[in-house]
Symmetry: C2
Subunit: 308 residues, 2 copies
Amino acid sequence: MSRLLVIGVGLIGGSFAGGARDAGLFAEVIGADADADNLARAQQLGLINQSLADWQAAIPNVDAVLVAVPPGVVVNVLSQVFQAGLPDHALVFDATSTKSSVVSGLQRELAGLPANFVPVHPMAGSELQGPAAARPDLYQNSQVFLTPTTDTAPDAVAKVRSWWEQLGASCHEIDAAQHDAMAALSSHLPHLLASAYMAFLGTAARREGVTDDTKPHTSSTALTPFAGPGLRDFSRIAAAEPTLWRDIFAANRHLLLDELDELLVHLGRIRAELAAEQDDALVRMLTDGRDLRRQLARHLPNWRADSD
Amino acid sequence: MSRLLVIGVGLIGGSFAGGARDAGLFAEVIGADADADNLARAQQLGLINQSLADWQAAIPNVDAVLVAVPPGVVVNVLSQVFQAGLPDHALVFDATSTKSSVVSGLQRELAGLPANFVPVHPMAGSELQGPAAARPDLYQNSQVFLTPTTDTAPDAVAKVRSWWEQLGASCHEIDAAQHDAMAALSSHLPHLLASAYMAFLGTAARREGVTDDTKPHTSSTALTPFAGPGLRDFSRIAAAEPTLWRDIFAANRHLLLDELDELLVHLGRIRAELAAEQDDALVRMLTDGRDLRRQLARHLPNWRADSD
């Protein structure tokens, strides 16, 4: 009888638990969560077979452990898992969106990386969270990164990879540092920009103090008529949980800073072109941006309807 | 018998034409377009009753003219309309996304602003364009700004406003300069950011040169697995037509520069907080951004499902 323990049954962990149940990957899927309401909800939604308030006692009897907790505590929880009597054959994997910090943190805690630990990052978040947002089919057509080190057992990687593939994911094995650089560039940076812009917009709209012809407005309602579909889409990622993203930014701080610095140079150049009426340069920038958007839309079916 | 002439039957003009036909606002809706294919398409789609290659000859017999041409040529076309024998009772309105440049440009061309010209900006664009993207119901639940000056006849404003309202829009009368400041802030600035970011992403992804375990990648396919739903939404506006946005940026250059400068200061501060590990300040920024997003979602039904 094979047992999966999922620690953290929010959007990411809960969806894996529900998907693993539906696919019959394990005889039993046990859930644990620091938040008792989340845990009760996951059980009620049928994402898990059994819930545990204290998961430490279950460790000696599990075959696999998914640690899907916030990035700020993941190294600590992983290290507890490895120190609670885990069977030799059991596989442990995480779902954190930065990988170097997890790998190096765990290496430090355990004085070496266990061969049965597989670092994983499923690209399937959203601005929603918690078990209520979890869906057993969340990983269908998703992209999942595995960042094994030379310490990681190849058959552990193959096994964990096959589980994600059975849930519908396309899996990519990649170096942790490369993964984190690409994540900084393609995920953390736009998130920072969208959030920074929205924070700025709130302040600036209050400063403008727009009123219309019929009645005085508060800042947010004055902004409302200007809030078109472009702004809605652009700002969607800013709806996500602030502390989660604080942790992600912190875990990938240096790569994010590198990319942000380069982007600020690029924005400074665009600012100079705008001021100098170098509108041809602006067209090149707008065209480069549109072309990449189109290229991605050609590769990604769920981008296509939007822009082609 | 009342006649509407729509000059420019793309997404914006074609949708108004089709909506006006469906609502029976005019006995006849005539379309004109510098692009013969667009014009034929608009007629074929039933957006207009009649198409004209040369609209100048029709001017003496129209009751209303919508000029929905690109911002780079709108002042020129409007000034031709007023110099082609327009009847005194006829009303003329535009659909340009910046207003001060249109008002002051026309004032200069005609040595004074005609009382029967109503400056309009319907907030209903998308990254799509052309008559094929036009929909008679595009303005249902949209926001439309009217920016009359002291020269504008109040009954002209009331009449044009009533047409947009009959197409389902909520109308707002606002000062042109205030409109442009808010548009710079809430529309032009996020567009600039999304486009600049996408242009940067293309360059940076080539620099990273990511490859996976199975095959070498070109830059765009290397990026593909990292292109999640957050990036998709954030970058959607960057899919729009480059020359249209060059014109919009040019027409609102100074206000856009003011807002961009303030945003760059704000981003510089966030960069310093990230570098100095002032993560509490980052949480405040993330929270401010999320809160404004939530406020807007509370006011705007079509934002709600995304983030609450």
